[in-house]
């Protein structure tokens, strides 16, 4: 398949070319999804949020000034939009209600781990998810979140400890 540059795809997307935008989505979907997962905390909500991010990106692509920066731009949209989703949900207490209503599709092996990840605070969950699930280096996580590498390490350290504390509380540990 012919490889198109981001610049060309962004230019075509600005002219409402959905197929060009779809190619950008294919290229950056994982990055978008991982950021959504890091902020909202669970896979189902992250997928819905990623969908929302993609549509928002298409609607607002004319606002992207540097067309070679689509990746950082869309991940910033993802982060901001997901923070709003979390705030919205917290306000309306949707999380608790939804959990009571929806059957949990997660399977036993990762069930407790996913729940524990969901319970982490967003500040430490996002670097953890980017590092472990997107295979990003500490340097890259630091660049994406605009923080220092030592701050990333400190958040990862905290996340590992907190995750263990939660899992130990669930009895899902060797200790």
């Amino acid at each position: 398949m012919k490889e198109h540059s981001d610049e060309k795809l962004v230019a075509d997307s600005r002219n409402a070319d959905k197929s060009a935008y779809a190619l950008l989505v294919k290229k950056y979907y994982k990055q978008i999804f991982i950021v959504c997962l890091g902020v909202v905390g669970n896979i189902e909500d992250a997928e819905d949020a990623a969908q929302e991010v993609i549509l928002k990106g298409f609607m607002e692509i004319s606002k992207l000034r540097n067309s070679s920066h689509f990746g950082p731009w869309i991940t910033r949209i993802a982060r901001n939009l997901c923070i709003n989703i979390v705030r919205r949900k917290q306000r309306s207490r949707e999380i608790a209600e939804e959990k009571a209503k929806q059957p949990d599709k997660r399977t036993e092996q990762n069930d407790n781990l996913q729940l524990a990840i969901e319970k982490l605070s967003m500040e430490i969950r996002l670097p953890l998810v980017m590092y472990y699930f997107d295979g990003q280096s500490v340097q890259k996580v630091a660049e994406s979140l605009d923080i220092s590498t030592s701050a990333v390490y400190s958040k990862l350290r905290e996340a590992i400890k907190e995750l263990h504390r939660i899992l130990a509380g669930q009895g899902d540990t060797n200790e």
Binding site: Y29, F33, Q51, R106, Y132
Partner: protein, 444 residues
């Protein structure tokens, strides 16, 4: 818990993240060996670390389907949709393709995370059918990945026994080198320079490559004894084609064959999870994935033959050298070229410039992706090479040149090596390469 244990347990996350220096690691290990409580804590955190990585891999497996769903939803959307949150489930129910994709992701998610111990086989298919079908093949083409050597392509031709090929062509993607096994002998061929190096011994009867005839059968039979084999049929949401999935789950790894329902031959082999890849990397040519397997196609003309203009060389290394890499030494004396290649290699080593290292020093061409990933992490953690110093003038012994160098690590570990350099004349150019070191010998 005493203060000592508290301190050690606080350090364990840093240990998991590879942040501890050698001294701290030694202290931690010493304490762990004497304290069962801290040892248990470490094991717990290591286990959680492993589970996180496994969850990451599971997420990856469903990513293609999620992405396709997103694209599908995008194509069904209208510009006014941005005003409200779009429900994923409303979107996926819109058409048949997305329904299939959704079904596939649920099946895959179930496969990846539930231990399926049911050894039953669907009535329409039995593994014996595949074992029989493989026995009848005349030749096979594979594209895949070895644990150690990375991506490869391979053609094999049989005369009745798919465990003993009469002809083999094995090449690494993006490399000029290939290995050929034919009635002419076993030789390495540089396709660009046409340099040919014959193996000293006839390897045709040795296990130097997978026994394709038994590969599927052994994997399934082995797993059937102690672990789980799960077989079902599913549709590929991307191509719409149906295939049989033979999923093998053992203690250390999950692997999956896709089998063509018509021919009953495997079309791909994928390692979905491997908790101990270093164990596999110890083996010479352990197969991790076979992305593509095709059968009974005519191999490219002359692929198993020695080129008519081949140059037979004595050393295997001379066959590994590519004419478009190395340091072009045309405008320099040999001493100057030796110093230049040593400097460039040293700089590339500090910066972990993979392209430059593979171009100048044959040793780095042997590193698989995992090692590069590992050394990058070491650099991030301040455990990599700080500088490479040239300790003296280049000197010549026979055909080879040497440059005394010292590799200085960030953690205070230094190593002196005499880089071994050889000059070649290829395509009208003088080129030199680091082919090993006096201390460690020639790369092979």
């Amino acid at each position: 818990m005493n203060n000592r244990c508290q301190k050690i347990q606080n350090q364990i996350p840093d240990y998991i993240l590879g942040l501890l220096g050698k001294e701290q690691t030694d202290t931690l290990n010493e304490h762990i060996s004497q304290c069962s409580r801290c040892k248990k804590h470490l094991q717990s955190l290591e286990n959680e670390n492993r589970l996180l990585m496994q969850l990451g891999r599971n997420l990856d497996t469903g990513m293609t389907v999620r992405r396709e769903r997103a694209v599908e939803a995008l194509s069904n959307s209208t510009p006014t949709l941005h005003r409200e949150a779009v429900s994923r489930w409303r979107m996926i129910m819109k058409n048949r393709i997305t329904k299939l994709a959704a079904a596939a992701v649920i099946i895959l998610a179930a496969l990846l995370s539930i231990s399926v111990l049911d050894k039953s086989v669907t009535p329409a298919y039995a593994v014996e059918q595949t074992v029989d079908a493989i026995r009848k093949i005349e030749n096979v083409y594979m594209a895949g990945e070895f644990y150690k050597q990375g991506k490869f392509e391979c053609w094999m031709k049989y005369d009745g026994d798919p465990d003993r090929p009469t002809h083999v062509w094995l090449g690494r993607t993006g490399h000029n080198m290939c290995k050929i096994c034919s009635p002419e002998g076993v030789f390495g061929l540089n396709q660009r320079s046409k340099a040919v190096h014959f193996a000293r011994r006839d390897e045709r009867d040795k296990n130097w490559f997978i026994k394709f005839g038994s590969f599927f059968e052994d994997a399934v039979r082995q797993a059937q004894k102690t672990d789980s084999v799960e077989i079902h049929t599913e549709k590929n949401p991307e191509t719409g084609k149906e295939h049989i999935v033979v999923h093998i789950e053992t203690t250390n790894r999950d692997q999956m064959f896709l089998v063509d329902p018509k021919t009953k031959l495997p079309t791909s082999f994928t390692t979905l999870r491997d908790d101990n890849p270093t164990e596999m990397m110890k083996m010479t040519l352990a197969v991790k994935n076979l992305e593509e397997i095709r059968y009974n196609e005519q191999p490219p003309e002359g692929i198993f033959e020695m080129p008519p203009d081949a140059v037979v060389v004595e050393s295997e290394v001379d066959c590994m050298v590519d004419p478009d890499s190395g340091l072009v030494a045309d405008s320099m004396t040999q001493e100057q070229a030796c110093l230049e290649i040593a400097k460039q290699t040293g700089r590339a080593l500090v910066e972990i410039d993979r392209t430059a290292l593979c171009k100048l020093d044959l040793f780095f061409r042997l590193w698989p992706d995992q090692i590069w990933e590992q050394v990058r992490k070491m650099k991030e953690n301040g455990q990599w090479v700080k500088e490479v110093a040239i300790l003296g003038e280049p000197y010549q012994e026979g055909q080879l040149w040497y440059v005394p160098m010292e590799v200085r690590g960030q953690t205070g570990q230094n190593e002196i090596q005499n880089a071994m350099i050889k000059f070649y004349e290829m395509e009208g150019k003088n080129i030199c390469f680091i082919i090993g070191s006096k201390e460690k010998g020639v790369v092979d």
